[in-house]
């Protein structure tokens, strides 16, 4: 693989500006959502959504600039995957917010987007050419599908945290401020299921295309990388599989589903850090 460094003052300047706007917007929006969650200050919720949109706009510009520069989609280096994942998390969040109007979901999802972007700042911004191969479409599919799946899991994660907070209050009969703020357990449970039902098939397809790519490229084993790096991904896949298939067959509902979606996301993040 050939690597080259970025050049030109104006694009570099533009990249730094947009990156910082996106990151600061997500940080600010997280704080605003949190303030709204705890103090219910009127107007703060709208402000937070506005801040997210500002962040998303510059985030889109970042991805556009990067793709223009590299000549391919944002999924070649770990830096690109991180900014792409973070971007998709926000996009899927915006969709969920618009479609299902879950109050306070932003408090649990936008910080995730912020942290992923923050993580990206520590990664190499070097440009790496997309591997030339007749199977390159497989790699593109593998990375894009997986990242979209992960973004759906991030939403399930946020919903899962909300579920666990609400469940704890109702179960322990100590109804704090969050009890009044959070939606009903059943609606959270249904939404988690929907998010996983979107994420799991994509994740599985991503998993398969990746595996096939590996076989085609190395001609040796199914997985070219060590088992240590693989196990979090497998655990995640099994957990999401249980959430996805277990609902009707095994009565996987409520708390188990919420716990599954929280732990599943943690394993996914670990495997991304190890893998990409």
């Amino acid at each position: 693989m050939v690597s080259r460094l970025t050049g030109g003052f104006a694009p570099v300047f533009m990249k730094i500006i947009t990156f910082n706007i996106a990151m600061i917007s997500y940080l600010l929006a997280s704080l605003e959502y949190f303030i709204y969650l705890v103090y219910r200050k009127p107007g703060v919720s709208k402000l937070a959504t506005g801040t997210v949109l500002v962040g998303l706009l510059s985030h889109t510009v970042i991805i556009g600039l990067r793709s223009q520069e590299t000549g391919h989609g944002p999924y070649t280096t770990s830096f690109e995957v991180a900014i792409f994942l973070s971007w998709l998390v926000v996009v899927v969040y915006c969709f969920t917010h618009w479609r299902y109007k879950v109050k306070d979901l932003g408090s649990f999802v936008i910080p995730v987007a912020f942290l992923i972007l923050l993580y990206a700042t520590f990664l190499s911004k070097e440009i790496v050419d997309f591997p030339e191969s007749e199977f390159r479409v497989l790699l593109t599919l593998h990375r894009t599908l997986s990242v979209i799946g992960f973004a759906a899991f991030a939403i399930a994660f946020g919903l899962g945290v909300m579920y666990l907070i609400q469940e704890k209050q109702v179960k322990s009969k100590k109804l704090g401020i969050m009890y009044f703020r959070m939606p009903s357990l059943e609606s959270l449970d249904n939404l988690i299921y929907k998010a996983v039902a979107v994420g799991f098939p994509l994740f599985t397809l991503g998993f398969l295309t990746g595996a096939i790519w590996n076989i085609k490229m190395s001609q040796t084993s199914l997985f070219s990388w060590e088992l240590v790096k693989l196990w979090p991904l497998v655990i995640g896949w099994v957990l999401y599989g249980l959430v996805f298939f277990g609902r009707y067959r095994m009565g996987w509902r409520g708390k188990k589903v919420a716990q599954g979606s929280v732990i599943g996301f943690v394993t996914v993040i670990i495997s991304i850090i190890l893998h990409v």
Partner: protein, 426 residues
Amino acid sequence: MIMAESNLVIVGVNHKTTPVELREKLAFTRGSIEETTEKLGSYPEIDENLIISTCNRVEIYARVNDVEKGIDRLKKFICDYHMIPFNLLDKHFYAFREEETVKHLFRVSASLDSMVVGESQILGQVKDAYSLAKSLQTTGLILNQLFEKAFNVAKKIREETGIAESAVSISSAAVELARKIFEDLESHTVMLVGTGEMAELAAKHLISYGVKTVYVASRTYERATALAKTLNGSALDFEHFKSELHRADIVISSTAAPNFIITKEIVEKAIHERNNRPMFLIDIAVPRDIEPEVNDLENVYLYDIDDLQGVVNANLQEREKEAELAMDIIQAEVGKFNNWIEALDAVPTIVELRKRAEAVRMQEIEKTIKKMPHLSEEDKHNLHLMTSSIINKILHKPTINLKKKTQTTEGRTYLKAIRHLFHLDD
């Protein structure tokens, strides 16, 4: 800020200042309000008046000529009308003046002054009192605006604070919990085990929130059938309710059984049959009907009467906190109302208008006198007299009309128009 003089006062008694034995003697019925307000209106010191009489408060709001005299008049009026000696009642009265009246009404209608803070009844009662007064034509521009504003403020507080959000009775706490467990109540099923009064109340509450399917089981089948009929549900044989338990999302138990009739084992079986869909069990029987360990089962939530009472107590405390938030809103709205009152006053505008005219007159007189140096002092004097008189004549009618108009709802529009046309705000 300059204090606007609204001349608004309120005199009254409420549950905090006056015991019920006295309060009930002071109440006004709808009929008596009709004759009372008319009588109040006939006093020269009272321009507008409105009576609110509920079981927790009797209050007269009024716009008066003189604040202190007006308050005395209202106090005496209440005593005389109910034939209670003034010295007996005087210590129970509270009275507010000007801005404080506005604040008090905002607090009352937003239910901050209620016995149960945030209860919704009071707003309706204030609205009734207002529409009665309006139909009797005892209110005018100021009180009308004050009450309309109070309703807006109450709505705003309801929307922006959690003052009325939480449940403060056992049955509403149960409904609230059900709504935090289930997505929508329409598609869910309630089962009553036992036909206790409280269970019936809770069931009715749930039905009003959309629950469509109701089962009633009782040791006496007739009672189950009777209650099922009133609740539009179906009766179950008591022997069989345990095997039907899995069909219920919400179970309300209120039997007189001496020991647990719904055990962990029974619920475990039911939840399994339900494929782990959540269950909410409410035990309002004393002694309890449902084994407490049921709450340890996943996706099962059990609340007994003490748990629900605990929720109610916590909610009451929560409301007190939200009331502080509401006070900030009220403070801001009182300021706005004050501005409105201030803007109603025609006098400053008239003074400014005259000043502006006088300035133009003086300017033109000076120019003329410079051009005509031959004028004697007497001529100059006459010139002043004439120009002043022109201005006075021109401004006389507008001044009168403006003062009249500011007593009506169009007043602000006229004031604005004058200020705009004559550039008074530059």
